[in-house]
């Protein structure tokens, strides 16, 4: 607790600090006591399924929504006292902002530039977001990815210290997604601090130094992507199903009895094993299946991902909502 207090008092070290923030909508508690801290120059990703409270959390940090309880300090200041000063120093990309169709890229950037005390070099911003060819294009002619980069451009043009991104690549195709990631990575490389929400584990793994996994308004685990994946205690995951047989004929005990299997999960027609020594487990799996005269189908192994951690912790997938 004391160390937190110190950080709140010294804005140089802490950029975003949230403690015990709560938001209720009627009977629903959307955010139920979340703590967050973002160190300068790092990227923190809040990962969770739809409805986990990610957007509500980030919107409280952005000063859009008022928490019902808890404390938020941004760059050593609070929204109650210094809202304008904070807004000058942060950049925000909201989920689902629609720009006006009949405005041009350059006009929108110039509009947003006029809101800030700092004067931006708009040509440089246009280069950063890779819209050089679209400078005079109407918004309605932009693709989803281009619109999203324009949106991030509006959040970057005044040289913010912190960039807030709310699901920046939702609905984009893989290539468009990578281009958005490149913009964020360039911002980070120049010393920027990023707080983002996402329900894509690849996004969190690629961009984030620290991942905070939330579900039902609470933090269920946090750490670097590597630490979180390691917490699963598995070298890999082995997934398979059986031909003409319900996978449940292989009892959990029977599988756990195999050397190196630490967890068993039934998922529809599949079994997923968390395993320590992949090769040995697969060898013994074949023996068990042979002896029971069962036939394996669709055997796959992969290294665990954040998604697997989420499933292990909640029994649900990130995208199940």
């Amino acid at each position: 607790m004391d160390s937190h207090r110190d950080q709140i008092d010294s804005p140089a070290d802490s950029t975003v600090v949230a403690r015990g923030i709560v938001k209720r909508f009627g009977d629903l508690t959307a955010v139920d006591g979340i703590d967050l801290e973002v160190e300068q120059g790092t990227c923190v990703a809040v990962l969770g399924p739809n409805g986990a409270g990610k957007t509500t959390t980030i919107e409280m940090l952005e000063g859009i929504k008022q928490p019902d309880a808890g404390e938020i300090v941004i760059l050593g200041r609070t929204w109650q006292h210094d809202a304008r000063a904070i807004r000058e120093r942060i950049g925000v990309q909201l989920q689902e902002t629609e720009f006006q169709d009949k405005l041009k890229v350059y006009e929108i950037l110039r509009l947003f530039d006029s809101f800030y005390a700092a004067d931006a070099d708009l040509s440089e911003i246009i280069n950063t977001i890779g819209l050089e060819d679209k400078r005079e294009a109407f918004v309605k002619t932009l693709s989803g990815g281009q619109k999203q980069r324009l949106s991030i451009g509006c959040a970057l043009l005044h040289g913010p210290e912190i960039l807030f991104l709310d699901e920046p690549t939702t609905g984009l195709d893989p290539q468009a997604r990578r281009r958005v990631w490149e913009v964020v990575e360039r911002f980070k490389a120049n010393g920027g601090t990023v707080l983002m929400t996402t329900h894509y584990m690849e996004e969190a793994e690629r961009l984030a130094d620290l991942v905070v996994i939330v579900d039902k308004g609470r933090v269920i685990t946090r750490g670097s992507p590597a630490e979180i994946i390691a917490s699963l205690g598995a070298e890999s995951l082995v997934r398979f199903s059986l031909i003409d047989e319900d996978v449940r004929v292989l009892a959990e005990d029977e599988l756990l009895a195999m050397e190196g299997v630490s967890a068993v999960r039934y998922e529809g027609a599949d079994i997923v094993l968390s395993v320590e020594r992949t090769q040995a487990v697969i060898a013994s799996l074949f023996r068990v299946v042979e002896s029971r005269r069962l036939r394996l189908e669709d055997l796959r192994t992969h290294r665990p991902t954040l998604e697997d951690v989420f499933v292990a912790l909640t029994g649900r997938h990130l995208r199940d909502g």
Binding site: I64, L94, Q100, L103, F115, A117
Partner: protein, 342 residues
């Protein structure tokens, strides 16, 4: 100055997005001109319209009636045929031959002004003794007394109301629906600049709109313009501000375009009918006049007619200006209080 910068940019964006919507440009600029031209044409003065009479009678009677310049005769075989047309208002009355030497019989609707006129013209045409005038008359040909002269200031007032409420109401509902408003609110943009940009863009269009419409009315329709520029300018400006306030007010809570649009119609409909756009509100019962005069569009139309047609000074319009100013302040105060930012 960052402050002036943002007001200028917000206003520029407003103006550009309006000018890039051809439909909006049509409704603001073309529609009132077309309307004034069509209505002015339909109710043009000049030679008085003759009455159209259905006749089911002998050739002699038909010829006597037809000799009158004030009567157009249409002959029918049977009374039923003529009566059918009378019911639809296509003719003003039906004259039948009197049976066995009785007087010719006129069937007409005594509450229709045109029918009453037709009756007087028929009586005059059939009477030999009335050739001598009973009253001395002088014909009024002065500009400013035709229907289109009455109509045009009303249309101008209606247009100021429509562009204010629609222009601002839709624009606000639209930026809110797109979450563009929310996006701007996470910047240091000042909320007052946001509102000011709407007022300023209204002002830009007000000037274009009023100048274009007045030039059209003066040159094409020959509507007189007797006002001094200051009086006319003050009345238009105050009118635009009142309805800008209404525009912000109707959009202050609406989450959807449809919601805002319903409210706009609710606000405007009574004023279209009762504020003396197409016909004078004096046609409503006397007891209602004080209430109708409290409507902002009534005040604006009265003020516009006074300055344009009578050349009154703005200083003589205390009552109208007070009504508009009061609505203006009230709508802004309430709108700012209940405005939904998110």
């Amino acid at each position: 100055m960052a402050r002036l910068d943002e007001i200028r940019e917000l206003t520029r964006v407003r103006v550009l997005s309006f000018l890039r919507e051809p439909e909006a440009v049509f409704w603001v600029f073309m529609f009132p001109m077309v309307m004034a031209a069509v209505l002015g044409f339909a109710f043009r003065s000049g030679k008085p319209e003759p009455s159209t009479i259905g006749v089911v009678a002998s050739e002699a009677l038909t010829a006597t009636l037809g000799a009158s310049e004030a009567i157009d005769v249409e002959s029918f075989e049977t009374f039923e045929d003529a009566h059918a047309k009378l019911r639809r208002g296509a003719i003003d009355g039906v004259v039948e031959e009197g049976e066995f030497g009785a007087l010719p019989k006129l069937t007409f609707d005594p509450v229709r002004a045109e029918a009453v006129t037709a009756r007087l013209r028929i009586e005059r045409a059939l009477s030999d003794d009335l050739d001598e005038p009973i009253v001395a008359t002088e014909e009024l040909t002065e500009k400013g007394s035709r229907y289109v002269d009455f109509l045009f200031p009303g249309l101008l007032g209606m247009n100021l109301m429509g562009t204010g409420i629609w222009g601002i109401g839709f624009a606000i509902a639209d930026v809110r629906r797109r979450k563009f408003l929310k996006r701007m609110l996470v910047t240091p943009m000042r909320r007052t600049s946001f509102f000011l940009s709407f007022m300023l863009s209204r002002l830009v269009f007000l000037i274009l709109e009023v100048v274009l419409l007045v030039m059209f009315a003066a040159w094409v329709l020959g509507v007189p313009f007797r006002s001094d520029a200051v009086s006319f300018g003050v009345v238009c400006l105050l009118g635009a501000l009142v309805f800008a306030g209404f525009g912000i007010l109707v959009a202050s809570r609406a989450r959807t375009i449809e919601g805002a649009s319903g409210l706009m119609n609710l606000v405007m409909m009574p004023m279209w009918l009762a504020s003396g756009v197409f016909f004078s509100y004096e046609r409503f019962p006397d007891a209602l006049h004080p209430i109708l005069q409290l409507l902002p569009l009534t005040a604006l139309n009265d003020a516009l007619r006074n300055v344009m047609l009578d050349g009154d000074s703005v200083l003589s319009l205390g009552k109208e200006l007070t009504v508009m100013a009061a609505w203006c302040v009230a709508s802004f105060v309430v709108a700012l209080k209940i405005f939904r930012w998110e």
